[in-house]
Amino acid sequence: MTRYVLDRLLSIALVLVLVSLIVFFAIHVLPGSAATLILGEYATPEALRTLEREMGLDRPLAAQYLEWMGAVVSGRWGDSLAMKQPVTAIVALRLLNSAYLAGLALAAVVLVAVPLGTLAALRQRSRLDLAILTASYVGISVPEFVTGMVLILVLAGPRLMLFPTGGYADPGAGLGAWLRHLALPAATLTLVLLAHVVRQTRSGLVDVLRTPYVRAARLKGASEARVILRHALRNGLLPAITVLALDLGYLMGGIVIVEEVFAYPGMGRLIIYAIQNRDVPLLQISILIVAAVYALANFAADLLYAWLNPRIRYA
């Protein structure tokens, strides 16, 4: 187990080095250097050269990369070009906001998807099963910006006005207002993720319900609730956990869209802001952070999987 953890940590480090290379070289090597990004497409060649010299962009790329990495690792993240504030302060707040959103969506997914998937598996081929499966298919296929805007249209419209159309309230200002701002963006993410997890819970449980050990538990005289909760679900949920881990990658992308739709100040909207304002230092750090969070979250999901599945734990 220790070896496995060390091996995984090593490959996370490799991933992050690779991502840092991509982030750095995508902006420096491809047509449109960092100076072009900052000054815009129509800058004069002289202005570009002056800025490049000021930023040290005329030095060898490898030296620039190493210097940048050194600064990133030691926490000297510099100032955002567009916001004129330290990147660290901006990022810390946005990361927390995104964590609230993602956390709420994931919790809702688990609380809703597992019971729905279980229900569908127990009533296989019934109308309920068909309805749940069809709804989950549609859920995967409707883009989150459409789902989000339909939710705004129906629930935040001038008629109902149950929720704000977007924005953010500080949790210190009152839990109610904070939750009301979080509700629709979290619901949008939940609806898309729900589909994946419901389908996996259902198919995982369908497979497990056919196994001899579940039959044995039934023959032993265990109550149906005990058979499902104690015996079947424990194994049946494993594929759902794998999918949930894969969905974390989706969540990182989905959060960009959803935060943009609801004008929610998290990491996703920060990335779009950095792109639109040609804020290179902010963009590089933000993408690196999202990649790091994703790698670590995946690692956590793998550990959870191993903990639930002894066959892997002792392998």
């Binding site: 690779l18 298919y137 883009p143 910006f145 459409v146 339909v150 249209l153 992308g253």
Partner: protein, 266 residues
Amino acid sequence: MRSPALAIGTWVLGLVLGLSLLAPLLAPYAATEQHIVQRLQGPSPTYPLGTDQYGRDLLSRTLLGGRTALLLGVGAVALGLGLGVPLGLASAYVGGRTDEAVMRVMDALLSFPSLLMALLIVTALGASLTHALLAIGIANAPGIARIVRSATLGVRHEEFVLAAHARGESPLYVMFGEIFPNVLPPIVIEATIRTGFAILTGASLSFLGLGVQPPTADWGLMIREARQYVFLSAWPLLVPGVALAVTIVGFNLFGDGLRDRLGRVG
């Protein structure tokens, strides 16, 4: 057809393809024709699905937008296949340390959310349809390489491969002439499902203002523009939104149906 998914998927995709190909004939108006007095209207005999904020006909724009979506989806996946298939084939064929190194890099690229990868590439290149296509194509390549590699590993030691070696065929011929046709089914399934997601990613980029640029008819862009006016008229949001969802459902059903039919090979 045993699988209802394949049957429904075929019909839906056929409908989407047909409507998109015939769009210039079917669309009652040009994509950019403005009727500013009749802006943000609901369906009427003149405008069957209503109009947008410039009074452009939503039916025409949605039909023509299908061409943009399909061009982007199919183009991006073709690019992804062009990069990923040779890489996956070669990696599995050569094997050993090279294979391990290539796959480590692919895994690292895969562990980077693909929308973010596409965003990064579009940022570096600038926002346009072509760049969105390039970005999504490149972002798809590692996943395709992985699938192709694992399918290739499954047939690499089959007798027909050994026989080709014994005949003294070149490695290139063995890879593309012998192995490739045998790993085609999983590649086709993968490509179908990826096309749906490529269309979705393309629409997302356009929605963020980083893909297709106005005044081109594109579903993601139409939805972006509908945002401001959504409480005045829901049609500019709903019409392209439904078109997008139906198209992606079609690709998913067709891909899942194919998977059931052809089985998981490799």
